[in-house]
């Protein structure tokens, strides 16, 4: 799961990046509205945390431009102003949720999880696929109740596949959603992660669809 943080205050941006990184997300950051907009417009993010008070282009404008261009990723807006006026304006511009500053990191994470889940059409924080269960609240994967030990990249690959279960996910899709932008990407490593996951998971859960990518499905 890859998240974009658009926040101009460097310390808060760093804290957000750290908190989201620790929660198992690949995180990109932008420090102003123009950069934030172009990143969100070109990269496939699973969610965006967008501050409203941004230099160069304000958050509402950024959001409206994305929505006009057909970008549908869930967006959580951060606002310093507590007024309903601002909240309604944000939501009418296409935001999915809002959080008022100062906020608790746990609350932000919970809201983000809910947004990503809702975007994938999942009702619960626990994603299931046959014997495999992934709890997005604490990033724990279990098979028949047995906890799996996963590295952060393995977790991201698994989480993305779980959010898109029964769909074919291409290798480049995976690369785009598990790495932050400035990461030195190598699509071959995806194969390595898949191979490691297959060893840890019951056989047959991750299929290879030749020429297209991978699919996570519950065994019949």
């Amino acid at each position: 799961m890859r998240i974009l943080i658009v926040e101009d205050e460097p310390t808060l941006q760093a804290q957000l990046a750290e908190g989201l990184g620790a929660a198992g997300y690949a995180v990109d950051t932008a420090g102003n509205g123009v950069d934030g907009h172009s990143q969100g417009d070109t990269e496939p993010y699973d969610a965006v945390v967008l501050d409203l008070g941004l230099p160069q282009m304000d958050g509402i404008t950024v959001l409206r431009k994305w929505r006009t261009a057909g970008r549908t990723m869930p967006v959580l807006i951060l606002t310093a102003r507590d007024g309903w006026h601002e909240k309604v304006a944000g939501i009418d511009a296409g935001a999915d949720d809002y959080l008022t500053k100062p906020f608790h990191m746990e609350e932000l994470l919970a809201r983000l999880r809910a947004l990503i889940r809702r975007a994938g059409g999942h009702a619960s924080a626990e994603l299931c696929c046959g014997p495999l269960t992934l709890d997005t609240r604490n990033q724990r994967a279990t098979v028949d109740g047995q906890a799996l030990t996963l590295t952060s990249h393995e977790y991201r690959v698994l989480a993305y596949l779980m959010h898109h279960r029964d769909q074919v996910v291409s290798r480049s899709d995976l690369v785009e959603h598990i790495y932050a932008q400035d990461f030195d990407r190598d699509s071959n490593t995806v194969e390595v992660f898949i191979a490691r996951l297959r060893k840890k998971l019951p056989p047959g859960l991750i299929e290879t669809v030749r020429g297209l990518g991978y699919r996570l499905t519950a065994p019949q």
Partner: protein, 474 residues
């Protein structure tokens, strides 16, 4: 009463203008009537006496003595009235004896018939003409002129003196004057009524723009229009323009203050966020400190929000000319709530309401009040929230119902109380009602908590409203 009248004159421009105009109209008409009447009367009098003198002159010219020395007329006088009995025109010749006694009625006009004019004893000097008023036949008042004539050339050689009298009924003079006066005053009264009507029309038409200005100001005050609208005469237009400029400046000041307040909030809250995040991710051994920081940051945030909202409302509640349609605000909030509480899949129902319902006040303040109440209802509801709005005269009644747990009567009391004594409490209670109670109080409205027919809490919000639609903008 006198005090009242003078008070009214001082207060009312219309009364002042009318009183001045009416006074001058009355004065001019009376002066004109009196002057014209006098002029005419003098003219008629002069004509009357001129005619009498003509008769007198004719009489003088025709007077001769016959062989016996008795006065006689050489030719009868020409005016036919002098021969018709009691026609109103008369003449008479008296002889003045040497002892100054008079032999009246020596010769008389035929019109006098058997009457002898009783003339006051008087002897005009030679050539003089005297005027008198006497009582004539049938007791009528007569105007008369007399002159003395001395004839030296007499048959017996003794000079004789005669008094020649020409008289006429005064009604010959007063009747035309009276009828003229009647016609004159009738004409003047008609003229006066016309002038008064013209003055009334002028005052009402002249002052009509002021009445229009008054109506326009009333609309601004009640929030129907944001500024003075309409065409006014060139004399009033500068006033209207100035007033609109002041209104615009007022709105600009409020907008600037609001932006600054927003900037202040932003400037304060971002560091607070950093602080709170730093505290939570701190070393677990400093747990005590971390909790303290988080708590205090939370308190600071609520205080900032509370006082900013109050400060903004304090500025906007005094703004004239603000009017916020209710339905778009409710629709916006419902959209937001559906997104914010998407997880709960609540049924948010807005009961049909007239689109003309409007709040007499600022949109931000209305959004703040309704947003907090609706958010509360959504938080506490299990499945359903209902919103109802209606107008009651000048008031707007907005009701929020939820099907949640509800609130015990004692708790309701304390929730409202806390809103009233804002300074003595930690602002932003769990129900968020404090700011709503404060805002409604500033607007002269109120919040009441009741049992809802849906099973939970009903919040009834009363606000100053407007039901008339805003006039169409050109």
């Amino acid at each position: 009463m006198k005090h009242l009248a003078s008070h009214g004159l001082q207060k009312s421009l219309r009364l002042r203008l009318l009183a001045g105009t009416l006074f001058w109209i009355a004065a001019s008409i009376i002066a004109a009537g009196w002057g014209l009447g006098n002029l005419f009367q003098r003219h008629v009098e002069a004509q009357f006496h001129a005619e009498l003198k003509t008769h007198l002159d004719q009489l003088t010219a025709q007077l001769t003595l016959d062989d016996k020395g008795l006065p006689t007329l050489a030719l009868p006088l020409s005016d036919p009235r002098l021969s018709r009995p009691y026609s109103g025109c008369y003449w008479q010749i008296d002889e003045i004896k040497a002892d100054a006694s008079a032999a009246s009625g020596l010769l008389r006009s035929r019109s006098l018939w058997d009457h002898v004019l009783a003339v006051p004893p008087d002897t005009p000097a030679n050539g003089e003409i005297h005027q008198h008023r006497i009582v004539g036949p049938e007791g009528k008042a007569l105007g008369m002129v007399e002159r003395s004539v001395r004839i030296d050339d007499t048959p017996d050689g003794k000079p004789r003196s005669y008094r020649l009298i020409a008289a006429a009924d005064e009604s010959l003079m007063t009747e035309p004057v009276a009828s003229f006066s009647g016609a004159l005053w009738l004409a003047l009264v008609v003229l006066g009524i016309g002038l008064v009507l013209a003055a009334l029309v002028q005052v009402f038409v002249g002052l009509a723009p002021l009445r229009k200005l008054h109506a326009a100001l009333g609309k601004v005050r009640s929030g129907e229009t944001p500024q003075l609208d309409g065409d006014f005469p060139a004399e009033i237009m500068p006033l209207v323009d100035e007033f609109n400029t002041v209104l615009a400046q007022n709105a600009e000041v409020v907008e600037r203050a609001r932006t600054q307040a927003g900037n202040l909030a932003h400037a304060l809250k971002t560091p607070l966020s950093v602080l709170a995040n730093a505290a939570t991710s701190a070393n677990p051994q400093q747990n005590e400190l971390a909790r303290l920081v988080v708590d205090q940051v939370d308190t600071a945030r609520k205080q900032v929000d509370y006082h900013l909202t109050r400060a903004q409302a304090a500025a906007t509640t005094r703004m004239p000319g603000t009017r916020t349609p209710l339905l778009p605000i409710i629709d916006g909030l419902v959209r937001a709530m559906q997104r914010i509480h998407a997880e709960r899949a609540l049924e948010l129902r807005v009961q049909p309401m007239p689109e003309t319902l409007a709040f007499r006040g600022d949109a931000h303040d209305l959004q703040e009040m309704l947003g907090n109440l609706l958010d509360n209802a959504c938080k506490w509801a299990s499945h359903r929230v209902e919103i109802n709005a209606a107008s009651n005269g000048d008031q707007l009644l907005i009701t929020f119902d939820d099907d949640g747990q509800g609130l015990a009567a004692e708790q309701r009391e304390s929730v409202i109380q806390r809103g009233v004594r804002a300074d003595e409490k930690v602002s932003g209670s769990g129900l968020g009602l404090a700011i709503v109670a404060d805002l409604t109080q500033m607007y002269g409205g109120g919040v009441v908590l009741q049992d809802s027919p849906l099973g939970g809490l009903r919040v009834v919000l009363t606000l100053p409203g407007l039901t008339r639609p805003a006039p169409a903008r050109p």
